[in-house]
Symmetry: C2
Subunit: 339 residues, 2 copies
């Protein structure tokens, strides 16, 4: 059925090992035989069987992407496709493929990792959006298997990771609102157990503290990375005795939901409430009003994560374990008082 290295060898009149050498561009091989073998491969339409190759060479040229449980949530957010785009771009450039598997529970998540890692199906693993005390991180560390974090680990300082300075980013966002004259500023956060939520909340708090502003607990709202969260947040906002005049929101999508929800209850952005959010997904510019946001360089996050992993795999001793992708505040209409 399938044409193998043996067939090529027979046609070219050489041994299988010679064919293998041609395949891997072995230096010491006569140009004449190279040509013969190449021709034979051509006429037979030979293509190496990757499984067989991997079995002996012990690498797969494949990277595993372990999607956090509740991929539903993740996928609903354009952040994900953008980061994936960056990953694929880098991976394919280096001739790597990406193997994805999602999971619906912690158990499934571990199973997926085990299939990939113990089954020797991938050379390295990318982990997204780690949680506090993430069991997957622990497992991978225990296996001593190459992996890179998109985000950071609270517990392990030494794991390789690509991240933003989320604390500083939230600090900047908050200060921007303070500079606009706001005194009562709220914060809409992501899932509590995610490291990124923690970091951004801390940045917000620090900015408020330094400006001598009250940091009231009922101004901090927890949400998921979904639009519904924006809607939900509205009712909480409306019921506050002293309503904030501005919000720092941890995700553009939530911001979309909030702007819409506020509009429905008769509050206008930015006239009644100013908004700054995070990520700069491409639609944030097209919102009405356009959303002020912290551009965190999503594409680069993905690209650099894969690049770091591939570097690590190629044996290059990567001294710098932490890569920080710079962020920048994009001021748009949602945080500009029209006066």
């Amino acid at each position: 059925m399938s044409v193998t290295i043996k067939d090529v060898a027979r046609i070219a009149g050489v041994s299988p090992s010679t064919v293998s050498r041609v395949l891997s561009n072995h230096p010491k091989i006569s140009p004449a035989t190279v040509r013969k073998v190449r021709e034979a491969m051509e006429t037979l339409g030979y293509h190496p069987n990757i499984m067989a190759k991997s079995l002996v060479s012990k690498n797969t040229n494949t990277l595993g992407l372990v999607l956090p449980r509740s991929a539903e949530e993740l996928f609903a957010n354009p952040f994900f496709s953008e980061v994936l785009r960056g990953m694929l771009a880098c991976a394919n450039l280096a001739q790597y493929d990406l193997l994805m598997s999602s999971a619906n529970s912690q158990k499934e998540e571990l199973e997926a990792v085990n299939r990939m890692v113990l089954g020797r199906r991938v050379d390295g693993v990318i982990l997204m959006a780690p949680r506090k005390n993430d069991p997957i991180v622990e497992k991978l560390l225990e296996y001593d298997f190459p992996f890179v974090l998109l985000g950071r680990s609270l517990e392990h300082q030494d794991v390789h990771c690509v991240n933003n300075d989320n604390l500083k980013a939230a600090y900047d966002a908050t200060n921007h609102l303070i500079a606009q004259g706001h005194r009562r500023i709220g914060f809409v956060s992501g899932p509590k157990d995610m490291v990124v939520s923690e970091d951004r909340l801390e940045g917000y708090r620090r900015a408020m503290r330094e400006a001598g502003l009250a940091c009231r607990e009922d101004w901090v709202i927890n949400a998921d990375f979904l639009q519904e969260s924006g809607f939900h947040a509205i009712s909480l906002v409306m019921n506050l005795p002293e309503r904030p005049t501005a919000f720092v929101i941890t995700d553009d999508i939530i911001a979309f939901g909030m702007i819409r929800g506020l509009y429905d209850v008769g509050l206008r952005v930015p006239d009644d409430i100013s908004i700054v959010s995070f990520n700069n997904i491409n639609l944030s510019e097209l919102s009405n009003p356009p959303i002020s946001t912290i551009d965190i360089g999503i594409y680069h996050l993905g690209y650099l994560t894969v690049q770091l992993l591939i570097r690590k795999l190629s044996g290059e001793s990567v001294s710098q374990t932490q890569i920080t992708v710079p962020h920048r505040l994009l001021v748009r209409k949602s945080s500009m008082k029209t006066m």
Copy 2:
């Protein structure tokens, strides 16, 4: 290093073949040995090497997803993540993984397919958004390799595919605008060589024709599936001698761009121009105004595509080669005249 079937055999006091049988749930094997083997696997922390398994069993439990060239464009659209979500959900349920590889040119695209298919790296392939005379389709047909189309082939009626009735969908969208009293209706299309563009344009034309309305060529605008296209479309619209009062737009993202662009030049949706678009990405509801759109069941498209492919792979003779996912028009504010 890695624990193999032999190690398990030794510990359990059986032969490697017996371990293999336990692994594949061979019926005729004594419960006692099953238990012994299972225990040994447990204590050793055994996990089958998937490469070795694939090499002999000739299947990989992996599906290949070949992303169209210019994945950039694709990824920028939430359509993609939603369809991917559906695919992953179905694949993981059936214990399949997804192998992705993108390409930047036609050449790279074919190489990627060859690596996957000839390299025996995947059991089947999913093709998205086929073009007219798509060379990948031809190739796969030539190889007689299992694949499923998300979309449809113009040339081959017999290939398995999952699709919408795009003609009818565009017909419905256009008729909705006609029913609202519009007479001058424009159409913003996607890339010309894509089958879906053709189908939707045809549906629009048919509706116009049946209503006895003029179908002017300068009312049909070509665009990519990007926001910029929306902006771009605006300038064309503004320069028309007889401006349409409504548009059918082939994608929500383009609609976003157009609404924003129209707003900037002082035209209001729906008061000055009504809009109906396609896809119902989750943000279309949160637009200002909310966008009327044809829900094409993106998640289901992805889910059913994988399901069909897996059915095919399991040898089940799939009589029904074409699956049509139903669509429905969601009327929102962008097409409702406020009077």
